[in-house]
């Protein structure tokens, strides 16, 4: 029951500043610890990866959830964005290193990261446009297959590009190319190590805001119309190809940013991170959460990123005496992917509409919609 209407209130600068400050403090606490209590590097890693997954899932929601189109090739856009932004950082560091001589460090590093991420977004968006324009006239499963095909082609191409490492992977992204006789400049890499949680949290929040605003606007309603009945959508004057392509490009650009974050977080890339299974994983996140629901995408991203890690930790739940008595428990981590698969199938059978259906958390909905005065009937 939709009893929300578009949010017509003003902006909240104060809220924005509070969120940024909050993320900054969290970052400091996570990285440096508070009163000696810190977060282990492992947990920080999982949390950061959850944030990147959220960017991926929420941006895919625009295509698969809102517009009802079906892409299972988004790993390709992630890869393109990741490699493009990594390449900018890796090969284009000189001007920033020069700037470091005259300006304080953190604005320079921040600028460098944002330039790289922007390039990732642009290249991802262009890739989305190139793939989307000819293919979006295909319907349903055919579109899915072509996006899958493009995703795989992109991966094979990356495997064979030498300057970015090919099959061996792209190493020392933040340090820049090796210069014989000079030790690599570690400053940017250290900056990233200490601040990536902050950037990921910021981008994830921004993505949710942007996609939410688009989804719950005139544009979003056009996409929903296309999803519900494409012929009727055209009959009321919606340029369906254009709307679908726009959604695809925005989604691919945001996915490109996610790729860029991933590249800068790991400081390493390998084409094998962007297989078709990665695309499937992103799709699974949003279907699990509830297709078309941002809340669902957020939860789906969290569950599917944490679940494999949590299953890895299962054995720690049992004291040594127990595992000694029942040795198969010790080998539980080997079964974690089996459990993961079973959980996936079980969840789909138990909740085919996903965890959230098309619903949103009230607090999230309130960002984009305000409550309508009276209840509807019917």
């Amino acid at each position: 029951m939709n009893i929300w209407k578009p949010h017509l209130g003003g902006r909240s600068w104060l809220g924005g500043i509070a969120v940024v400050a909050g993320f900054f403090l969290l970052n400091e606490a996570f990285v440096h610890g508070v009163f000696g209590y810190g977060l282990s590097a492992y947990y920080l890693r999982v949390i950061t990866l959850v944030g990147i997954s959220m960017v991926l899932a929420v941006s895919l929601t625009l295509v698969n959830g809102c517009a009802g189109q079906f892409s299972i090739g988004h790993a390709g856009f992630m890869a393109v964005g990741a490699y493009a932004s990594a390449a900018v950082t890796h090969f284009g560091g000189a001007p920033f290193i020069a700037l470091l001589e005259i300006l304080p460090a953190w604005p320079v590093h921040t600028l460098r990261l944002w330039v790289s991420l922007a390039v990732g977004a642009a290249v991802g968006g262009v890739a989305g446009w190139l793939v989307g324009l000819p293919t979006l006239r295909l319907r349903g499963d055919y579109l899915a297959i072509v996006t899958l095909g493009f995703g795989e082609i992109i991966r094979v191409v990356l495997l064979n590009i030498e300057p970015t490492g090919g099959a061996l992977g792209f190493t020392n992204i933040a340090q820049g190319p090796e210069v014989p006789g000079r030790s690599p400049d570690q400053r940017f890499a250290l900056f990233l190590e200490e601040t990536m949680f902050f950037w990921v949290a910021l981008v994830a929040t921004g993505t949710i805001l942007v996609v939410g605003r688009l989804a719950y606007s005139s544009f979003g309603r056009s996409l929903a119309a296309i999803r519900e009945n494409e012929i009727a959508a055209a009959a009321i004057g919606i340029d369906t190809t254009r709307a679908k392509t726009t959604a695809f490009v925005v989604s691919a650009a945001l996915t490109g940013v996610a790729g860029g974050l991933y590249a800068h977080y790991d400081n390493y890339l390998n084409p094998s991170s962007f297989t078709f299974l990665r695309s499937v994983e992103i799709v699974t996140m949003i279907v699990l959460g509830g297709l078309g629901s941002l809340s669902g995408a957020i939860v789906g991203a969290g569950v599917l990123t944490i679940l494999p890690e949590a299953l890895r930790d299962l054995t720690r739940l049992f004291p040594p005496s127990v595992t000694a008595a029942a040795p198969f428990l010790a080998s539980l981590p080997d079964y974690r992917m089996v459990l993961y698969a079973l959980l996936l199938v079980g969840l789909m059978i138990a909740r085919p509409q996903g965890l959230y259906g098309r619903r949103e958390w009230p607090w999230l909905a309130r960002l984009f919609l305000t409550r309508d005065g009276e209840k509807g009937v019917g």
């Binding site: 578009p6 902006r11 309603r221 009945n229 012929i231 009321i236 004057g237 340029d239 009937v377």
Partner: protein
Amino acid sequence: MVGEHRMSSAMTVLATKSTTVRFGGLVAVKDLDLAVQAGQVLGLIGPNGAGKTTIFNVLTGVYRPTSGDVELEGKSIVGLPPHEIARRGVARTFQNIRLFGELSALENVMTACHLRSRAGLLATMLRTARHRAEEKEQRDLALALLERFDLAAHRHAPAKSLSYGNQRRLEIARALAMRPKVLLLDEPAAGLNPQESLVLMRQIQQLRDDFKLTIVLVEHNMRVVMGACERIHVVEQGQTIAVGSPDDIQRNPRVITAYLGNL
């Protein structure tokens, strides 16, 4: 009220010029000359399979005619995509209702208000003042339309949950939200009970007057057709067999054998 309408200053809004539509070997529409005058309510009738819906699909760009021309306000619209024709002012409803089932009644109508939206994607992302004003404007227009069709109480109900009669009316409200010049109604009385049909019949001319429309109506319910239309175009097997006022048509022997004789 039957007879030529006061606004029909003989200005043709929508016309087909010897239009032919072929599907493989099948000729669905043959050499059709259809002319709709501004402000008119034109009835397009004919037995099942006569090609009426095909004609609608040609008028709205869903099908491209095999030969011949289609003109909107004197300009050819052949080859334009459906959305472009819609933007130029041709709205339609569908024989098998095509609403956006999961969307609420209000959202269905709001969706069709997008044509006047000037705020771009960036404005939407930044939620500028203009974007917010437009959202409000669309919402107000949509609410007014729902009110007009007695659907305001159902505005938050998903379209697919509405009763059949309400769905038919919602589809008309959605079409009107585009502020069209021409409205094509494909069997609007199908599935309505006699009482609802009667109301609809009265509403059609009222709509024309209130929204300054030209209306083309495909309908099998002869009471509705004879009561609502000023001019009737009869087709059989894709060809025109008669054009004239309801009185003429009722007396036309060819029409009686081809169509009314079947009743």
